[in-house]
Symmetry: C2
Subunit: 210 residues, 2 copies
């Protein structure tokens, strides 16, 4: 039988997407072996440790140079023999070397339908604010592989969320987050089953029914 | 009883969106009083005339200056006391004066989920080609009011269309077109019922359930 994929989840805060993955551990086809946080207070660290997953904090502020910080993270990820990195609310920009090292092996969840409402400056509540300001009727969530260009990597899964009249950032965020959790679990599962084939900037999902 | 809205449809070609409106004439709450074409060969002119709607061709090539061409169209629309203009595959860029004259009274259908895949250069099959090249999982259709900025006017209605594996431009276009027809009919109906209230760049639909 094929060996289980080894998954690291990188967080900076609450880690509700991490929790979704933890809740579906048994069906992921992979094992969460490490949770890396950029700060010690991140609630996600507790979530991990409470279920026996190693939770490590590497504080970016403790390093003079970003290179050193990222090298420290790379060394840690290598030590855990990580196959897949999931960015689940990780609030640091990653450098080229880090991204290259995990090309097509690092995924991120974006709370909108890329290419809409993505790119530098579009994160967290700002995304939903922009959606409401634009007056669109439909938004959604996107899971994609991470590339140098922010939010422009190959798209793995997307799903729509309707914008309601009188929606607020909080109401919209709540509905989108439910979709994020579902898509992220599905995307990790597809990766662990070796069903994601990247051609240029497009991803073929092996054996997917329409 | 309130007077029926008078609708003009502007076309350059086949006019399948025009046909969708003709097929729903009875339930629009408005009357299509005029079809304006930029060329005499447009099949949409036949569609109109065959059901007793005036079909007029104003050939843009017959005018030295665009101003004159647009003034001619404005005079014609005024003569027909038009309340609403629907752009249904009209392939000419309209000038500021024309657009101002029918601000919030001229709608367009775009075969994607704006703001994605919109703007100058995104028309017809090019839109679907861009969607397929981008590898997105979701596209759709948008009905919006026309403003000076191409494809950036207030959004009236939007609906999603899933991109399938092995989709072609033609397959995708066919599925999106079905949605375009449905959304356009619904948007015209809302306009005729005076239910579209524009606040800045957002549209409130009066009495819409979520």
């Amino acid at each position: 039988m094929k060996q289980k994929k080894r998954i690291a989840v990188m967080i900076s805060g609450n880690g509700s997407n991490l929790q979704a993955l933890i809740d579906h551990q048994d069906s992921l086809g992979g094992e969460i072996v490490l949770v890396l946080s950029s700060n010690e207070e991140a609630k996600g660290l507790e979530r991990a440790r409470s279920v026996g997953i190693d939770g490590i904090c590497i504080d970016s502020n403790a390093f003079e140079e970003r290179n050193m910080y990222e090298q420290m993270m790379l060394n840690t990820l290598e030590a855990y023999e990580v196959d897949l990195i999931v960015l689940a609310g990780f609030m640091r920009i990653l450098g080229a070397k880090f991204i290259q090292t995990y090309a097509n092996r690092m995924m991120n969840v974006h709370p909108a339908l890329l290419p809409s409402f993505g790119g530098p400056g579009y994160y967290g509540e700002r995304v939903h604010q922009a959606v409401l300001d634009a007056g669109v009727r439909v938004t959604g969530a996107t899971v994609h592989f991470v590339t140098i260009d922010t939010d422009a990597g190959p798209i793995i899964l997307q799903e729509c969320v309707r914008v309601h009249p009188n929606d607020t950032i909080q109401l919209l965020q709540k509905r989108v987050l439910e979709v994020e959790h579902r898509l992220l679990v599905a995307a990790v599962r597809l990766f662990c089953e070796d069903r994601l084939v990247v051609n240029k900037n497009c991803i073929e999902i092996v054996g997917m029914e329409e």
